[in-house]
């Protein structure tokens, strides 16, 4: 029974591991994913600007939270995705794992940058400063540098297989930054507030503010996965293009060699 139950799952994994099948499946899923993301983000923005109340201390600046928090979560999720993909590439040689890791890096970097930028714009009116070298802000900045490092390393190495392996190693080593970011507000004295949504004792935000935040987080998460899927499709096309370009070069060489022999 166990064998029978596992077989379909294995075949699904194997099916997804095939780039051609991935292109077919993702081509069908992507428009729905993008539409769902657009609808949820639009609804979240409506709640943020027309329904959600002001914070009793922070006033209307709390509206920045609805984009700042999802950006920070997605900045971290992007790196977690890279770490899982890197593991899959190094251990299981999954053909799409390297494609996934490569596609996630610029997206994670973009959302980490947005978390830092919106946090800075939120910090000025609330803390009186755009930036402070506290543990949460500094560890997020290190995450951004890790993304830059991954992208720079990949573009610096011409051999794709070697670049994939080295980026996978860096991706796995760098994942240690995620618990540091998460628990930085508990381990050290920081200007940044402690966690108020993902807590063992439940969220401490009032539901009137929590629900728009959750809609926004889900909407931007769907957008992230839509962009990641699109990025993976582009990377598969790029690899096909490289393969065909090599074929064209080989063909041109053969033609010129034949002409020279004649």
């Amino acid at each position: 029974m166990t064998k029978a139950a596992m077989n379909p799952q294995q075949s699904l994994t194997q099916r997804l591991a095939n780039p051609t099948r991935f292109m077919e499946l993702s081509g069908r899923v992507l428009p729905w994913l993008a539409a769902a993301a657009a609808l949820l983000i639009a609804y979240a923005l409506y709640l943020v600007f027309f329904v959600a109340p002001d914070d009793y201390q922070q006033g209307q600046t709390v509206k920045i939270m609805f984009i700042h928090v999802p950006a920070a979560w997605l900045g971290m999720l992007g790196y977690a995705l890279i770490a899982v993909s890197s593991f899959g590439y190094l251990v299981f040689r999954h053909p799409l794992a390297d494609v996934s890791a490569k596609a996630a890096a610029p997206l994670g970097a973009a959302f980490t940058f947005l978390a830092l930028a919106t946090g800075s714009l939120w910090g000025k009116p609330m803390w009186g400063t755009y930036w402070v070298w506290d543990a949460r802000l500094t560890s997020m900045l290190i995450l951004l540098f890790l993304y830059f490092g991954l992208m720079a390393l990949r573009s610096a190495i011409e051999d794709d297989a070697l670049a994939g392996k080295l980026c996978a190693v860096l991706g796995l080593v760098g994942v240690s930054i995620l618990p540091i970011i998460k628990f930085s507000v508990d381990w050290w004295n920081t200007l940044h507030q402690p966690a108020s949504v993902i807590r063992l004792d439940g969220p401490t935000i009032h539901p009137d503010l929590l629900w728009p935040l959750l809609y926004s987080a889900v909407g931007f998460s769907l957008l992230f996965f839509a962009l990641h899927t699109k990025g993976m499709r582009n990377e598969i096309l790029r690899r096909r293009l490289r393969s065909l370009t090599m074929a064209e070069v080989d063909r041109a060489r053969t033609v010129s060699a034949t002409a020279a022999a004649e």
């Binding site: 919106t118 957008l223 699109k230 096909r240 293009l241």
Partner: protein, 64 residues
Amino acid sequence: MDLGPHAAFIWASYAIYSVVVAGVIGWLVWDGARLKARLLELEAKGVSRRSRSMSAKPAAKEES
């Protein structure tokens, strides 16, 4: 819409967010369209992955 004394910070946050997200979407769509066009161009010339393996055989013979 009146967003109070700190409206500039709120609008700036949403503006940066919109620009970066729109930029990423635009870049991915442009990149995908460019790659598809280039692939179609090569396929129209008759280049395929099979043609690489076929053309590699005479080249290998020459080397030996």
